[in-house]
Symmetry: C2
Subunit: 107 residues, 2 copies
């Protein structure tokens, strides 16, 4: 499972950040609810930092009612473009893999 996530997870993060500002810990919780059980914080935080370096997201700290300050992320214009591009790549991949599996395993 873990290998399959490579290159897909960042697109999912962009998608989640797209609608609302979110913070890293929240992302971990949301992803888990979506069924990605195994995505740990050790994966998410480096990814967010990388995406910020690439100017796909920006961040601001806000106080929390319970616990340390939260680092909220939101998409830049470039991030929105990257999300759109990811969706296209994902759809393309999905179609191709589905074709292979259908053609070759149900002849």
């Amino acid at each position: 499972m873990t290998q399959m996530m490579k290159g897909i997870l960042d697109g999912c993060l962009l998608a989640i950040i797209n609608e609302n500002e979110v913070y890293g810990y929240e992302l971990a919780v949301k992803l888990e609810r979506y069924g990605f059980d195994s995505i740990s914080e050790g994966t998410i935080y480096p990814l967010l930092i990388r995406m910020q370096k690439e100017k796909l997201v920006t961040s601001t700290y806000k106080k929390s009612t319970a616990g340390p300050k939260r680092k909220y992320y939101s998409l830049t214009d470039k991030g929105e473009e990257e999300l759109a591009s990811f969706i296209k790549r994902w759809e393309y991949l999905q179609i191709n893999v589905t074709n292979v599996l259908n053609d070759e395993t149900k002849p």
Copy 2:
């Protein structure tokens, strides 16, 4: 695109090998026709060797009508199990990613 293939390509290879014996060069051609333009032989051969080490496939050399001997691969029982397992993982991934994209980008 290339990152998204990690962990997916080997399942596709298993699927293609599943029905008919195929050789490496043929796999490259088939994948290209399925839309995976960028999958080069430098990717496929190491993967086949790895899968053989893991006893997912076996291979036999046969003469070719044009060119050097071909190394034909076929699935072992373990390979068939792995293919079935891959299909489940893929379907699971597909559903989850689709949910994220739908929920978060079309609210």
